[in-house]
């Protein structure tokens, strides 16, 4: 039967195709142009023609049957004949149907049924007449089919059962069961149907099995056995892979696999009631073989859930469908259903998705040309309500639960809504909601944008504008505060947003209580973005407007920091000072901070300049000086100068160092760096051996810091230096300050008092000397006291105040004892001097006491007594360890004896006889000779001692001609140099090219004896002997041991300096020391020889001259030679040459 049916169909198809070819040509696209009336007529004609052919075939078959009696193939001919009747029956049906133009009539069936009955008769004959015909099962099967067509179900059942009963192995058995099952199913007899379908399962190789399973599943569904049903559907889906083209009557066009899958959706909702929608999706994805099929089954499933009011499940499946589907109408349906589910559930968790689905659907429709505007408008209107409802519900829920997630979803939903429903009647409200949701979801950037948009839209509504602008400011601000959540663009946008909205807010609503905060943040944003110029400008305006509050303090700090970050130090300092000067800013802590910051910055500026100056000193120095000069207030100028001093010291730029230092001291007397600066200057001037400057700085230091523990010492040193430099007046000023200010330390009193006294004496101010010594007698040491007493006594004596002199002399004599004698050369010297003058005070009386023309015994006796006393006194002095006073005593002892001798000889003769007279004269002469001799002995002692001591002291050396041993006429001679020449080079030495270089070198190598020698020589050569002397002495103090040429040179310098200063004795010692270090020191040799020569130590002089080289070498020597020494040398050389 199946083959038959197929054969008929193919036949019909062939007919139609053929007819098509006849009717119209097929164009390149396969379209056949047709005329329906024509077509129908032609079709009927064709059917009639076909019927003729079938009738012809029936006639032929009959004829053949007649000719084939008893032939074995006769039943097959009958079978063919029956099939031809069936064909004719169908053609007859179609002819009738087409002739009536579509309207059907019972008569249409009559002819057809008649022919079917003829066929059934033929089939029955085969069964009856040919019981052995091998295809009897087929005949039964065909008959059952025709009986079903004729609606004769009993007969149909009978034949199917006959097949099952009689031909159990027939291939028609499973199909018979299947069709019987269908029959009972149709009748509602599920059990019977089920039994028949189950029988089919026993024939696994039959195509009917797949269908039977599917049908059986439905039986289970009818019995509410969904589990069994779904398993069968699953099997049907899984096992029907190769049965796409099932060749079973009535099932030919049925896609059982797809049907089974779709029906699984029905069962699934019953069978897996507890499964989640996600599980359901997974389940159906597993059984679906394509996305398209999956969509189909999901639609069924979603609908089932919807019907069963499983809202959550339905909604989720519809959402999944919305992702997969593109069809606008379907999407709209899904949206509607989702909305229904969500409404029913009252849960709005996925509103953002749902909103997207609605908009996706409407968007597709919106731009579709085939949908009318009316439909679009209606849908937009309807769905806008759904969408609005969804979003606002979620928003309410979010507010209630205070859930940031819900707010975020609500915001997403609003966003989607507003993007599409841009003409919504509630657009404004939704915009507000959107803004709020964004803010509450902590999406501050977008909240800021949204509020800004609202502010723009509410330009004519000040209240709303104010709120929206402020909300925008807050949103942007909060976004920036959490900048880690923003990318670079978002951050830039938020900053710009805050700035714009903030400025607008402040401008439009200046009285708002938030304006202060807003303006602060507007300024802050520029700072945060690194736009420091803007930040400074905005913050400055802010501070100017709100100088009083805490924000102002923060703003000031940020302004300063902005300047700092810009490295605009000048700007920072200027602003800082402005703040400090602003009385409206009262935050004292802030001001303290600003002071520190400004100071630190000033230091930084100076440091930078200082660092730069290290690389380019001339430029850097100039900049530092400019800065110092340009700075109107103390801070930076002070620091610049300080840096200049430090750098200059480092760079050995003495000019800059001392110029800067002096300016510093002058300009910034209260600077906390003054002490260190002055120390630096003292140290530097010491290093370069500029003692005048040293003294000056020491004095300044002591003046600025009188309470400093070194102040007294500094003054003392300054006094000493000044004294050594011959600046006695200045020296004493220092000592006076010491006396007036300090309780002098041990040992200092002696030094101070005697230096002062010396200075006064040098200044011919003996009263001053007396005063200072008298006034401080108790402060002096034991030896000092005696020395002072002696000196005071001497000075009083000098002044003619005998009484006072006596008083002190007595005190001195009383105090001078073994304890003190010989302990201190100065004391011994002073004591000797005092003693000498004490003796000497009678010398003039003695000399003046003369006989006046007649012998006066009283006079003689008195003179003899004076002689005795004087001689006794001189002799006592000769015991003191003081060469000058010893020699003086000798000298005067000689003089008084010679005087007495003269006195005797020249005394008037008494009135005596000639003989008596002769004897008298003889006796007188003898007496006088005795005194003369004694006097000569004293002179001899003098000469011997002077020569022994190589005395070169002008005070005594001139008294006696050492060569002849005779008393000279001139008495006291001039010093070797004649008179002292004083020149002060002072700071000019720093400009002098020669000394400047030496000073600079000394800055680095202050102990370099060679350098010091050169410097000493330089000063001596320039006439500043005292300074040259001091430098040389300092140099020697630095050379600890051993002999050296340098030492010899230094001693020579000292000697020369002393020569110039008239200190010939000291000069001699120095030259001798020089020669002890180096016997070949030409300078010392020439100088010493000259000195010896000058003071009459000829032998010693010649012993040196004899060893000296020629004049050329003398001229070329680098050592200093006193001009007079050179002159004497040259004279001696000249004489020698002669």
């Amino acid at each position: 039967m199946l083959k038959k049916i197929i054969g008929v169909c193919l036949f019909v198809l062939l007919l139609s195709e053929w007819s098509g070819m006849v009717l119209a040509a097929v164009d390149q696209y396969g379209y056949q142009q047709t005329n329906q009336d024509e077509e129908r007529k032609k079709y009927i004609a064709k059917l009639l023609e076909d019927r003729q052919k079938v009738e012809m075939a029936i006639l032929n078959t009959r004829s053949l049957i007649d000719k084939s009696r008893n032939r074995p193939y006769l039943p097959e001919l009958y079978l063919r004949l029956a099939e031809l009747h069936i064909e004719k029956s169908r053609i007859a049906f179609f002819v009738r149907k087409n002739q009536r133009d579509g309207e059907s009539s019972s008569l249409d069936q009559f002819e057809s049924n008649t022919l079917k009955n003829r066929a059934l008769e033929i089939y029955q004959r085969i069964l009856d007449d040919f019981p052995d015909f091998q295809d009897q099962d087929k005949v039964h099967f065909f008959m059952a089919h025709e009986f079903r067509e004729l609606n004769k179900t009993d007969e149909m059942i009978a034949h199917y059962r006959e097949i099952i009963r009689k031909y159990p192995n027939s291939s028609y058995v499973p199909e018979s069961y299947l069709l019987l099952g269908d029959y009972f199913m149709g009748k509602g007899d599920v059990d019977m149907a089920k039994r028949h379908y189950e029988k089919v399962i026993d024939y696994p190789f039959s195509q009917a099995v797949v269908i039977a399973r599917y049908k059986l599943a439905w039986c289970h569904i009818n019995n509410a056995d969904y589990k069994s049903a779904i398993h069968l559907f699953e099997d049907a889906v899984s096992q029907s892979e190769n049965l796409k083209n099932i060749d079973i009557d009535t099932y030919r066009r049925v896609d059982v696999k797809q049907e089974a899958l779709i029906d699984m959706a029905y069962c699934y909702t019953e069978c897996y009631k507890d499964s989640t929608p996600e599980e359901a999706l997974t389940y159906f994805q597993k059984y679906s073989w394509s996305r398209q099929v999956y969509v189909v089954v999901l639609e069924k499933l979603a609908y089932r859930y919807l019907l069963k009011k499983k809202w959550h499940h339905a909604a989720l499946v519809y959402r999944q469908l919305s992702i997969l589907q593109q069809d606008a109408d379907k999407l709209l349906d899904y949206s509607k259903n989702i909305f229904e589910c969500v409404q029913a559930m009252g849960k709005f968790d996925d509103v953002d998705q749902d909103m997207a689905i609605i908009v996706k659907a409407l968007k597709k429709q919106k731009y579709a040309a085939d949908v009318t505007d009316e439909v679009k408008a209606k849908n937009v209107k309807d769905y806008e309500l759904y969408a609005r409802d969804l979003a606002t519900h979620l928003h309410q829920k979010a507010r209630k639960d205070k859930s940031a997630d819900d707010f975020r979803r609500a915001a997403d939903a609003y966003k989607t809504y507003l993007e599409f429903f841009n003409e919504s009647p509630v657009k404004q409200e939704m915009n507000v909601n959107y803004s709020e949701a964004l803010f509450s979801s902590k999406d501050y950037l977008h909240a800021g944008k949204q509020y800004e948009k609202l502010a723009l839209a509410s330009e004519k509504d000040p209240k709303n504008r104010k709120e929206n602008l402020y909300s925008s400011v807050i949103s942007y601000y909060t976004a920036i505060k959490n900048k880690d959540n923003l990318d670079s663009y978002e951050l830039a946008f938020a900053r710009g947003g805050l700035k714009e909205t903030g400025k607008s807010y402040a401008k439009e609503f200046p009285t708002s209580r938030y304006v202060e905060d807003v303006l602060f943040n507007v300024a802050w944003i520029s700072y945060d973005a690194g736009n420091y110029d803007d930040a400074i400008k905005d913050f400055s305006e802010f501070v100017n407007k709100y100088p009083g509050g805490k924000p102002a303090s923060a703003a000031v700090h940020l302004i300063l920091d902005a300047y700092h970050l810009k490295e605009d130090h000048e700007g920072l300092i200027a602003y800082g000072r402005k703040v400090l000067a602003d009385n409206r800013i009262r935050d004292s802590k802030l001001k303290q901070d600003v002071v520190q910051i400004v100071k630190a910055t000033e230091s930084k500026v100076v440091s930078n300049l200082t660092i730069a100056a290290m690389d380019d000193w001339e430029k850097g120095k100039s900049e530092l000086l400019d800065l110092a000069e340009d700075s109107t207030t103390s801070g930076m100028g002070e620091q610049a100068l300080n840096a200049l001093i430090i750098s200059a010291k480092d760079k050995d730029d003495l000019q800059a160092l001392f110029t800067g230092g002096n300016t510093f001291i002058k300009k910034y007397p209260k600077s906390d760096k003054l002490e260190s600066t002055m120390n630096a200057m003292i140290d530097s001037s010491l290093k370069i051996n500029q003692y005048r400057m040293v003294a000056s700085y020491l004095e300044s230091f002591a003046e600025k810091f009188p309470k400093n523990k070194v102040a007294q010492d500094f003054l003392n040193q300054a006094g000493q230096i000044r004294k050594n430099l011959g600046q006695n007046e200045l020296s004493n000023r220092n000592y006076i300050r010491i006396l007036n200010t300090y309780s002098m330390n041990d040992g200092v009193a002696d030094e101070v008092v005697f230096n002062m006294a010396d200075n006064y004496i040098a200044l011919n101010k003996d009263d001053g000397a007396i005063s200072v010594m008298e006034g401080n007698l108790k402060k002096l040491s034991e030896t000092g006291k005696v020395r002072a007493e002696a000196m005071i006594a001497g000075l009083y004596l000098k002044k003619g105040q005998e009484k006072n002199a006596l008083k002190y002399r007595k005190m001195a004599y009383s105090d001078y004892s073994g304890k003190t004698a010989g302990k201190d050369p100065a004391l011994d010297e002073a004591f000797a001097e005092m003693a000498f003058h004490a003796v000497q005070r009678n010398y003039n009386d003695y000399s003046a006491l003369q006989l006046k023309g007649k012998i006066d015994n009283t006079v003689v006796a008195r003179k003899a007594k004076l002689l005795e006393d004087l001689e006794k006194g001189y002799q006592s002095i000769m015991g003191y360890p003081s060469p000058v006073w010893v020699l003086s005593a000798c000298y005067y002892a000689a003089r008084i004896n010679h005087e007495f001798a003269r006195f005797l000889i020249e005394s008037p003769l008494p009135e005596l006889s000639a003989d008596q007279k002769e004897n008298y004269l003889k006796i007188i002469q003898q007496k006088a000779d005795g005194y003369s001799k004694k006097g000569d002995q004293y002179l001899d002692t003098f000469v011997k001692q002077a020569k022994k001591l190589e005395i070169c002291d002008s005070k005594v050396a001139g008294l006696v001609d050492l060569s002849s041993g005779k008393v000279t006429q001139k008495g006291r001679m001039q010093s070797f140099n004649g008179s002292e020449e004083r020149v002060s080079v002072a700071q000019n030495s720093l400009k002098d090219e020669d000394t400047k270089i030496l000073h600079e070198k000394l800055m680095k190598h202050s102990n370099d004896a060679g350098l010091l020698l050169s410097l000493s020589s330089a000063f001596i050569n320039k006439g500043d002997y005292r300074l040259g002397l001091l430098i040389a002495q300092n140099a020697l103090s630095g050379i600890k041991t051993g002999k050296s040429e340098v030492k010899a040179d230094l001693y020579n310098n000292i000697g020369v300096a002393y020569l110039f200063m008239g200190q010939d004795e000291l000069a001699k010692d120095a030259f001798k020391s020089s020669l002890e270090n180096s016997g070949k020191n030409i300078g010392a040799q020439v100088n010493l020889a000259g000195l010896y020569s000058y003071y009459g130590h000829e032998r010693r002089a010649y012993s040196i001259y004899d060893t000296l080289p020629g004049t050329k070498l003398i001229e070329e020597t680098g050592q200093i030679i006193h001009p007079k020494a050179k002159e004497l040398y040259m004279a001696q050389r000249g004489g020698k040459r002669k």
Partner: protein, 506 residues
């Protein structure tokens, strides 16, 4: 010449962009009318009762269609379709013929619109097959509505009956769609059905490589791409895509030589290869050929590359100069970056509308997705212009409406794409700005370091000679079109040489 042409093109594009991005699309920009055609009333709005047997319009249409007078045929088919329903005889054919007529008369989008609706109704297989052929051709040759053609017409339907080349086409796009939606098994099923030597198979392999890359299976991705490379793939676009992707992967694997070769092999017009050039320059740089890299970078000085978004260019150039101690030049490059993108950055900082950021907008148009939309919008605009030539008012009304709506949609899409990409690009530019600052800082550090090293290393100032002499190909207009791969400049190593500025540190 090329420069002028391209510049003019860009100006035109820019004007168009201004109109599109300024707001909802207005057709008067194209001088059609002051009001959208679709906003007008339908001139034939009176209801027409469809008569099953009223086939006059169809027959007339078909008459002209047979004569290949598609312009005359289209209005008739449209009337037939408008006045009939899908159940009426030849309705689908009428739609189909209308679509073909439209395609033949230059209305590719209108044609696609009709065909995409038609195929979803599953008409007869002949119509579907031919419609799919039209789709396949358009997808490969013209800008088109991806949503409509790929997502809706191709991927939403089951075309099990189609075979051959069309089957490959369908399976490829459905497979990609399934993969994109996470349905990998179904996608695999589709890809298995693509014949092994077809274009779409190679396209599938390319997708597969991308998927492997996405799953961090780089070796597998390289193997897949190499599989394509050894096949005889004729389609240049695909082959270039494969070369580019493979080159990038090999670059990551530090196989610079192979990467270099692949970049060189790319056949795409050099003017569209700014990114490739940039990457090639990186390859050369990483290979230790700074001079070649610099040569490639010179290309970017060409006016043709004016609108390429290549801030990386400045960074790499600066790197190269820094490496060879041309510090001043390196700093100059950083300054160049600021000069080049200063306006763009100002726009960003000032939160101006993307449209006013000319520099970035022009570059954005070069991005594939945006460019596709833009090209499609251009196509719609051109085709809509042709609608004016339609004499039949009913049909013209329909066409105007169709195009207006689609132009509005595309403009909106373009606006959104630009907005989205603009933010990305702006963000990228801001990051590059940061990098430029960092670069300047690092250059400074290097300068100091080098001075220090120099002072401690002795005073031998040696200028290391470039082994290539000076510029091999002097700048002569647009030389780079053919000679880029060989172009290189001399970069003497100045690391041992004190330049003038160093005096400061001495």
């Amino acid at each position: 010449m090329l420069y002028n042409r391209r510049l003019a093109g860009f100006l035109g594009i820019f004007i168009l962009m201004l109109s599109v991005l300024a707001g909802p699309y207005q057709s008067d920009v194209y001088a059609v009318s002051s009001k959208n055609e679709s906003d007008k009333k339908d001139p034939k709005v009176q209801p027409v009762v469809a008569n099953e047997y009223d086939r006059k319009d169809f027959e007339k249409g078909y008459h002209y269609f047979e004569k290949e007078d598609y312009e005359a045929a289209a209005p008739y088919f449209y009337r037939f379709v408008k006045n009939h329903t899908a159940d009426d005889e030849d309705y689908e054919w009428a739609e189909f013929f209308l679509a073909i007529s439209l395609a033949k008369t230059g209305f590719s989008h209108a044609s696609v619109d009709i065909l995409s609706m038609l195929v979803t109704r599953k008409p007869n297989q002949k119509i579907v097959t031919y419609a799919l052929e039209v789709f396949e051709t358009i997808v490969r040759t013209k800008p088109f509505d991806r949503e409509l053609v790929i997502n809706q017409a191709i991927c939403d339907q089951d075309y099990g009956f189609v075979d051959g080349r069309l089957s490959n086409f369908i399976h490829y796009y459905q497979g990609v769609y399934d993969w994109q939606h996470g349905f990998f098994e179904w996608g695999d099923g589709h890809f298995r059905n693509i014949s092994k030597e077809s274009y779409y198979y190679y396209k599938y392999l390319y997708q597969k490589a991308k998927q492997e890359l996405h799953n961090d299976k780089i070796d597998e991705a390289i193997a897949t791409l190499k599989t394509i490379m050894v096949r005889d793939v004729k389609e240049t676009d695909l082959k270039d895509d494969v070369r580019k992707m493979l080159a990038r992967l090999l670059y990551e694997k530090e196989d610079f030589k192979a990467a270099n070769r692949l970049y060189q092999d790319i056949e795409q017009n050099i003017l569209d290869q700014s990114q490739n050039l940039m990457e090639l320059a990186w390859v050369q740089y990483r290979q230790g050929n700074p001079e070649k890299a610099m040569g490639l970078l010179y290309a970017f000085e060409a006016p043709s590359f004016k609108n390429s978004f290549t801030p990386e260019y400045f960074i790499l150039k600066s790197f190269i100069y820094k490496d060879v101690c041309h510090y001043q030049r390196a700093l100059d490059v950083v300054e160049d970056f600021r000069a080049r993108y200063g306006d763009a950055l100002t726009h960003i900082y000032n939160r101006k509308e993307p449209i006013t950021n000319e520099a970035l907008i022009l570059v954005l148009l070069g991005k594939k997705q945006i460019n596709d939309t833009f090209k499609f919008l251009n196509l719609l605009t051109r085709e809509k212009e042709k609608v004016k030539g339609i004499k039949d008012s009913v049909f013209q009304f329909y066409m105007n409406r169709l195009y207006d709506l689609k132009i509005r949609e595309s403009a909106e899409t373009l606006r959104n794409q630009i907005q989205e990409s603009y933010e990305e690009m702006a963000n990228e530019l801001l990051k590059y700005e940061e990098e430029a600052y960092l670069m300047a800082y690092e250059i400074g550090l290097d300068m100091y370091q080098r001075v220090t090293d120099h002072h401690y290393a002795g005073e031998e100032n040696k200028e290391q000679k470039s082994d290539k002499g000076i510029v091999v190909y002097p700048f002569q207009g647009e030389f780079w079109n053919d000679e880029l791969s060989d172009y290189h400049v001399s970069l003497p190593d100045k690391c041992n040489q004190m330049e003038e500025w160093d005096i400061f540190f001495k």
